[in-house]
Amino acid sequence: MSSAFRTGTGRATDWILLGATVVFSILWLLPIIWVVAMSLKPNAELMRSTAGFLPVPFTFDNYIGITKLATVPRWLMHSFVVAASMTAMVLIVSSLAGYAFARLDFPFKRTLFLLTLAGLMVPEQAVFIPLFTMFADWGMHNTHAALVMPRVAVPIGVFLMTQFFRAVPRELEEAAELDHASHFTIFRRIMLPLSVPALTTLGLFTFIFAWNDFLWPLVSATRADMFTVTVGLASIQGNFAFSEGLGSVMASAVFASLPIVILFLIFQRFIVAGVALGTGK
């Protein structure tokens, strides 16, 4: 009786949780559905009313406008090059630094680690002007390097990888040490293969961040042929686009998000695991 009661309670709890999850999912999805619906409506109609989740009247004109632009493939290519290079470099720097902080002994290790963590507390805007001036002095603006380099040293990446490597049992390394393996060999042959889930998560977050980045590309890439897709799509919008060209704005948002949505659908398992890792579970 008692067991049956517990089972019944458990099922009820499951249903309540499921119901709550569905309700919250719908609430989260509504703005996205609204954005997609608006992207499929004529701009003149949206000027009169933005209400409704169904794209009636319906048009593909807003998407056709984007795909007809000759510069869009170039902007997509720049975004991909920047996001992919940044991801690769962040993974290399973060994993090496994370391994060093987690496993190696060197002078001022604790101080350096704290300094790295302190970087988490410095807002991007605080270093924006010096960073911009520095790259201007080097004559590097309007290059891929300028778009990637300031984002390579990521404190959260180093922290994430340090925490991951700390959790790896020491015994795995000790066996290699008995065979006189160097630190780098241990890192490359043992630790790196073990850290694939953490690296995948960090890589995905970095890629998404790089793809969506707007402020730095806006001021560093001032030539249209060097725009990333976010800056490029913003540049084609007219004044008061949020009232007179709302459908086009929404279509731009959906278009720019698509690669990231696809990436998320493919790798969602790792992203969820990454969130759990980030919360220290």
Partner: protein
């Protein structure tokens, strides 16, 4: 510094005069602007009459110049998002791709001219045959800082009253000749608003009341000029905000909201939707939307059927209204060759010659000859607000106008968004603006 400025002006003027009538050459003109990108719609069109809207008209004008100029010049356009435009223009001075011609608001001009980032254009205009005497006074003043002409003014965009004639008729505010009756005093504005609400059940006024457009600050500034008060002194050192005149104007605007004659919940698109859906008698917005609303009314799809435009009425005495200008400037660039400067000036002259086309957007022309022309008068509704060109009041050439504006609207909007008293709102505005002005000195 003074010598180098003079030399730069002389060099430019000499280059332009010296090369007048010279053989064709090849020069790219880098052209930085907002207004959007219409390449998909107008990429190859050179018939300006076929273009509509700011984006369409400037795109086709550019195409036409590229197709027809005889000096071998080619305009290479780069569009930038309006919100980020000035950040990116500033950035070009460091990144090295300084444009030859760029769009600029008059309210922003002092930020660049005071830092010696713009090429003075007076001599070059004279050499190129651009008649500055044809510009209306407010526009010429907008393009000038410290007695130096830095820009080609291209329009005046000012506040207007956009009117739903059917609703005004229902309230009994339409004269026998079909024109609308508008208030002439603060008391009348409130009494008409009450009567309008009683007879129609709708809001008398719709205006952006929530976001960063600061539409009501522009109206308040207009009311201040109507009382003979400049909110910002011409020397940029003092602001007259927390004054008896400021209080009167703020009290009127606050009363419109407090009495439910204006809707507090509208942002910019919301205010437009309310007007187009027949939920308000008067929409306070700028010249830039006239053709768009005219098209909506004519389409038969909107509830708004009979659309009229009116000058902002002289509620506090004088006929004055807030106005800004779009202008073309030549950012200073030491590496620009005389050929490139000449090509850029030829493009500016072409734009000036076609100022009427730009006036088709709804903006007011800055050229008196265009305003007086029959083709301008024939454009939809232009006759209804032609006086705005005379009433338009230029902002003083003070640095950080945008920051000052932002500081004002956040405190001003608090009157109806959080119930702040007008005295407290004006006091806060005065403090915030004083702080910015101190930084300017």
């Amino acid at each position: 510094m003074h010598h180098s400025k003079t030399l730069a002006r002389l060099a430019l003027a000499t280059a332009l005069v010296g090369s007048a009538g010279s053989a064709a050459f090849s020069a790219d003109i880098s052209f930085l602007r907002f207004f959007g990108d219409c390449q998909t719609e107008y990429g190859t069109v050179t018939d300006v009459a076929a273009a509509n809207g700011e984006c369409g008209i400037i795109t086709v004008l550019t195409n036409k110049f590229n197709a027809e100029n005889t000096i071998g010049a080619k305009v290479v356009t780069q569009t930038v998002d309006w919100g980020a435009y000035y950040d990116q223009l500033t950035a070009t001075y460091s990144t090295g791709n300084i444009p030859d011609v760029a769009v600029m608001h008059s309210s922003v001009l002092p930020n660049f001219s005071d830092r010696d980032l713009l090429t003075p254009l007076g001599d070059a205009f004279a050499a190129a045959g651009i008649d500055t005497a044809d510009f209306v006074p407010a526009a010429l003043k907008n393009a000038t800082t410290k007695d130096t002409l830095y820009a080609l003014p291209y329009d005046l965009h000012a506040l207007l009253f956009h009117v739903n004639t059917d609703l005004m008729k229902e309230a009994g505010f339409v004269n026998d000749d079909g024109t609308v009756r508008l208030p002439t005093s603060p008391e009348e504005m409130l009494s008409m608003g009450r009567e309008f609400k009683e007879k129609t059940g709708k809001y008398f006024i719709a205006a952006e009341s929530q976001s960063s457009e600061g539409m009501m600050v522009r109206l308040w500034q207009s009311f201040m000029w109507q009382q003979g008060v400049d909110v910002l002194a011409a020397d940029g050192k003092t602001a007259s905000i927390n004054t008896p005149e400021g209080q009167k104007a703020a009290d009127l605007i606050k009363a419109l909201y407090d009495e439910g004659l204006a809707n507090t919940a509208l942002d910019y698109p919301g205010a437009e939707q309310a007007f187009l859906n027949g939920e308000a008698g008067i929409l306070i917005n700028g010249t830039w939307v006239v053709d768009s609303y005219n098209a909506q009314a004519a389409s038969g799809e909107a509830t708004l059927k009979n659309y009229q435009v009116a000058n902002v009425p002289p509620i506090f005495g004088a006929s004055k209204v807030w106005a800004d200008s779009h202008m073309w400037v030549m950012p200073k660039d030491e590496s620009r060759t005389p050929e490139e400067a000449e090509a850029a000036m030829a493009f500016m002259k072409f734009l000036n010659d076609n100022n009427f086309q730009w006036a088709r957007t709804g903006h007011l022309s800055v050229r008196q000859s265009v305003i007086d022309s029959p083709e301008f008068a024939a454009l939809p509704h232009r006759g209804e607000y032609s006086a705005t060109a005379e009433n338009a009041t230029a902002l003083p050439a003070v640095q950080n106008q945008r920051a000052i504006f932002a500081a004002m609207y956040s405190d001003f909007n608090a009157m109806w968004l959080t119930g702040t008293s007008s005295a407290d709102a004006l006091s806060a505005m005065q403090d915030s603006v004083d702080q910015i002005l101190r930084r300017n000195r």
